[in-house]
Symmetry: C2
Subunit: 335 residues, 2 copies
């Protein structure tokens, strides 16, 4: 129940999620008093599917990750991850500090056998009205070729299971299309991915390929992924604010203003559904368990999306499917 | 006279540049016959300021940089750089293969004393109706902290001279605002930049800070810079194509379509002037001489912009100003 805004957003979102998912049960981790106060709006059926787990503290947003992890005892984030660790919860959704969430998850939960490092992954809509899996978004700022290959495999599994693509296309982010372009780790990963027949590796993609849907899975290290995502979000934010601002040069005729408003609404709505409310939720991929990061500034609708997304990840048994894929690959390589 | 399209674009652009810059003289390097044929449209005054330098070959676009450099003898690119090297030309403008242009420039021209590696730099318009200097865009895919510091110094000089900013703000691109965030080379560069009093270092900036004009100079390694620029251009291209495409859901009423057209034109025109025609031209910064890279797919207007930009770089004596700045800094550090 942390995040930039806290329970006043996450709790109403939780109630909405309970309504639209009749089999969902939620453990709400935070200050009991605050949660109880906000639960007054809930009906008895909703309350029957809620359990409050008291947490005295929250992880602060402006704290250094290592200190935060050291001082994490009794924070809602740590208690929530602990509930997952003990098998009491199937997944943890948090709007809290990303670095701390990744750090605590790595520390407390186990990695899938064979996976070296977890990666932060999200799903980006593209202009083909399809979606692209993007990872890593910042869990690892330095990646070996082995890590990039593992990210490619994990991304491929998610594309198959969550966006229902048979033989999803997988690309490595680079600064050119030619084989000899870019960093050594990328070139090495490319050479190996080409040989893995069960991965549909299509070669390198560049920054401008993301939104045009050239690939179903785009793999890069966490530094690049973070820059890519923030740049994209920044450009889109600037454009939306440009639409919404009053354009003094436009004729102030009422009818023209009305049409302008309608057009802006249309564009904002249809703009490849790049609405953060709809694609909120990044998974920490590579863990045996499910931990989902919601935008810190997520509103009610966006946080509800993150819960819905988490349910899909649970239903599709993503960690198990990744384990299966890795087992098949390692059996093949033994032969 | 190379590039994706060749003399049919670059030559008319050259003629336009001659008209708007009465003191400009141009050396056109390429196949004499082709140039002479295209020069039929030129008037005698323009022709009096043109000299044709014959080049039998061009650098091919799909060639590996090292092979291209080895086989560059008698290519227009090599001859043009040679003219700069021999002092016969003040600058070289090329639409040719970027990697080869940087490689050949490094090989044939000298670096400013104290500069370890040249960087590719461009100017990006921002929503404050100002401009941001962005470097490196791909000349160096791995950068030491020393290189990043030198890029910051060079970028700062360009911001002062070309976009007329006193004490330009300089930021390092990173994936967070806190000092302990990101890669080691960036943290080391930050620690040193903070101590250089003649550089107005403001800290880290992120991908979404570029277009909002948070900083006047944004420094990163060439891999990141390339991803950042291509991502930004990709998002903008997708948005523009979205505007231009027919929206089937829109009412086909003539009046609404007309207003839509006007609106699209306005947005396209005013959209922070992010029109590649206007900001075409990246300089290979750090050389004692001036070499400018134009977009390979630049149209007439865009290539003319690159020539105009080159003239400003010559007039402002950018390499000399960088030399001066480095001399002052090294004198101070000796004290």
């Amino acid at each position: 129940m942390s995040g930039d805004i806290g329970p006043s957003v996450t709790l109403p979102a939780a109630l909405q999620a309970l309504t639209s998912n009749p089999r969902l049960k939620l453990l709400l981790v935070g200050k009991t008093k605050i949660i109880q106060k906000l639960l007054k709006k809930a009906n008895s059926e909703q309350i029957s599917r809620i359990e409050i787990i008291h947490a005295e503290h929250i992880v602060l947003n402006n704290i250094k990750p290592l200190s935060a992890i050291r001082q994490s005892k009794e924070t809602s984030m740590r208690i929530a991850i602990d509930l997952v660790k003990n098998g009491y919860a199937k997944a943890c959704v948090s709007s809290g500090n990303t670095a701390v969430l990744i750090g605590l998850s790595k520390l407390m939960l186990k990695l899938i056998n064979g996976i070296k490092r977890p990666a932060l992954m999200t799903i980006i809509p593209n202009i083909k009205k399809k979606q692209t899996i993007l990872l890593d978004l910042g869990a690892n700022i330095n990646c070996t070729s082995e890590m990039l290959i593992q990210f490619a495999i994990m991304g491929s599994v998610v594309a198959e299971e969550i966006i229902n693509i048979i033989k999803p296309k997988v690309a490595l982010l680079n600064i050119g299309k030619e084989e000899n372009k870019g960093l050594d780790n990328i070139q090495k990963a490319a050479a190996i991915l080409k040989k893995i027949t069960s991965i549909n590796y299509i070669g390198y993609a560049e920054g401008d390929d993301l939104l045009i849907g050239k690939t179903d899975v785009l793999v890069c290290d966490g530094f690049i992924g973070n820059v890519l995502l923030k740049t994209m979000e920044g450009v889109i934010r600037v454009i939306f604010s440009f639409f919404k601002s009053t354009d003094k040069t436009t004729n102030n005729n009422y009818f023209i203003q009305l049409i302008k408003k309608i057009l802006i609404k249309k564009i904002t709505k249809h703009f490849f559904n790049l609405n953060p409310d709809q694609y909120n939720g990044a998974i920490i991929l590579g863990l045996k368990n499910i931990v989902i990061k919601s935008h810190g500034s997520a509103n009610e609708k966006a946080f509800k999306s993150a819960i819905d997304y988490t349910i899909r990840i649970i239903q599709k048994q993503i960690p198990e499917k990744i384990t299966d894929k890795l087992n098949i690959l390692s059996l093949r390589s033994i032969k």
